[in-house]
Subunit: 295 residues, 2 copies
Amino acid sequence: MNLHDYLKEKTASVELALDSILGEDLGRASILKEAMRYSVFAGGKRLRPVLVIAAAEAVGGREEDVITAACAIELIHTYSLIHDDLPAMDDDDFRRGRPTNHKVYGEAIAILAGDALLTKAFEVLAGCSVPGDDGRVMLRVIREIAAAAGARGMVGGQAVDILSEGKPVDAATLLAIHKNKTGALLRAAVRTGAILAGAGEEELAALTSFAEEFGLVFQITDDILNVVGDSAIMGKPVGTDVQRAKATYPALYGLAGARQRARAGRERALAALSPFDAKADPLRLLVNYLLEREK
Amino acid sequence: MNLHDYLKEKTASVELALDSILGEDLGRASILKEAMRYSVFAGGKRLRPVLVIAAAEAVGGREEDVITAACAIELIHTYSLIHDDLPAMDDDDFRRGRPTNHKVYGEAIAILAGDALLTKAFEVLAGCSVPGDDGRVMLRVIREIAAAAGARGMVGGQAVDILSEGKPVDAATLLAIHKNKTGALLRAAVRTGAILAGAGEEELAALTSFAEEFGLVFQITDDILNVVGDSAIMGKPVGTDVQRAKATYPALYGLAGARQRARAGRERALAALSPFDAKADPLRLLVNYLLEREK
């Protein structure tokens, strides 16, 4: 199992499916379609859709049965980036080496492109057909994803993050911000793949533990990259968290302490996967990759 | 049948259900909850949820089976108002006699409150239980609502509306803007009530025609109120469409022409209801009310 080849294969499937989902003609609103596609096809790592697929495969599921749901989660992730980048929010001019959505299309269209992507995600989910499902499984998945993306999840985390800027943040608040802001959707991605593939409750619980540790490691390594990363490789400025006095793991524990916490999270994530056979190897490689990534 | 009593009864049910839906504790993000509730409980007419209920009742359905879906549509309507009022969009300071969401909570929280309401709507829809439905009917309703709210519907209409500001607009573009911006969600409201109540295909087609005419009359009378309305009664400034050179029916056809078009739309709406018995009377009264309303 080579992670590079696995990612290449899976992201190719995801790109193709996203292209089809975002292919419909919008007539007079064609600029909105352009803005939606600009951010969706901006060179993202497709980490969330790959997690959906890898979690499904870990319990014996097939890529083709979860690819549409995987894309829906990527649409939600993309909308959140567009809105987070807005001047009223994080006010970022660059992402992945390109101007952010509102720098290209203006704030109004950027807000609407985000709204449209979020809405499209649920249209796509409700249109998924899952083998053997009379509709109840997909409704459960929609509830899970919406709960993870909403006020008790991603949106709530972003709100607390923004409200905390420039204020001293304790460890419990930092954990709560990240658990919601990035952790909840990563967790929902893994659970979506597992549920759609018919995971048993024990398998689902184990994969959920994996996902929670994965989310923690993702956030810690993201924070570390904002301190020591190469802005040319990352396609965005580094050091911005310190400038904004953002609550981060390096700010709270120092770089060495943050790295130690990332390694410990990785060990717990791998331990959660111990009941699974080689079909879970992509998940194992993905959490290892987080500690080595340069962007 | 007295419309005033009917509206009083139904809006009371809607207020209660909305209060329950938006009652959950958001912990550190409590300001987000406050912002969501501020706009949801801002004295709206609850026209869309009442349409859901009245359409269900027209085909023999019961309020209690559609009230949650009715509230979900009101959440989507409210999110769209919050985002439309933002400085980057219509830049409105007042709505329903109160400062707009971003004037009270700031732009960042207003954007997030809108995002959270939209997301909550789909969580709520996916959690609805419909008598006799294995899940497929609710998935159909979610697809309908998402399509109506998204890039080919409400969001697309708002995009074209904003892009058209200050430019000459022809009748076809005006119709397309309103059909998407306000018409699509009104249409989805009527169809949601009918579908959940088990309407046959002929009943659904007739109610859809009704809904499309209703949406047209709603928009024309809305445009007329922006010219001749009393800002004290409406709780927002009038004359703003002319100031912004917005595409409106009075601008295109004059006041008398716009009024004539509203009356013709009302007649077509009533004709579409001719196959229905007295159970459709609330729908009949609602379209009549549009022509007499002062806000």
